[in-house]
Amino acid sequence: MRSFQERLHDFDARRIRLVAISVDPPETTGEHVAKMGWTYTFLSDPRAEVIRRYDLLHPDGGEGGDIARPAEFLIDPGGTIRWTDMTENYWVRARPETVLEAFDQLAAAAAPPSSPP
């Protein structure tokens, strides 16, 4: 979370909106985010409805019960998923530079540089 905040300018420059989702209620998330100085979007899914729809529910994974397993989805302007990361170990998560590299490769593949005349 912190590392994504530190690279926020790189995501802004590529017009990628960061949206983080957890089961934490908005009040808890709001306090934590304000304390940490994180400025991107944090959404709350306390009943894990969206987490279930994305099949990311980790039953009893947290002290408070059901939580989300870590996962990242990069979604293009048409709403299609273009890149994902599903970690096998929750201490090992996608780094911002990994996502930025994946985006740059997708962008390069979508618009190849014009060949010299």
Binding site: I21, H32, I67, G78
Partner: protein, 145 residues
């Protein structure tokens, strides 16, 4: 010659304890020390070295150093802490659901509406393709409960 107290095993155990606790509380905050917990492994290596030297002192030169009872106990506790660290970072954290039905690359991201920290509803389809941001990175995280 007077017998000296043998503090090394105790220091070694404290280093092991710090190695264990400093990962979730500090080093896991930074991807560089989180994904591969090399700092904590290094701290454990130092802790085990101190425990080992202390143990050798206690039994190698018992006429000079104490700790014949305490040193083996402290070494055993150090091993338990090391084992718990391996469990924490390599076993417990891998107990994740299979998520076989999670959306895949090439599929449409399922739309949803959820409240932000100001309780304002945010809809995914209202974010993608907008002038201010055309792509969206969804980050599902465990939360802080």
């Amino acid at each position: 010659m007077t017998r000296r107290r043998n503090f090394l095993p105790l220091v070694g155990l404290l280093v092991c304890l710090f190695a264990l606790l400093s990962y979730p509380s500090f080093f896991a905050r930074f991807p560089g020390t989180r994904d591969v917990p090399w700092v904590n492994w290094l701290l454990f290596a130092c802790g085990f070295a101190l425990l080992g030297i202390g143990l050798v002192r206690a039994f190698g030169r018992p006429e000079r150093h104490g700790g014949q009872i305490a040193a083996p106990i402290l070494v055993a506790l150090g091993v338990v802490l090391g084992g718990f660290f391996v469990y924490l970072t390599e076993v417990a954290s891998r107990q994740l659901p299979a998520s076989a039905s999670a959306p895949k690359v090439g599929e449409k991201a399922p739309d949803f509406t959820l409240p932000d920290v100001h309780l304002q509803p945010v809809r995914l389809s209202g974010l993608v393709g907008t002038p201010s941001a055309s792509w969206v990175l969804l980050i599902f995280y465990r939360g802080y409960w």
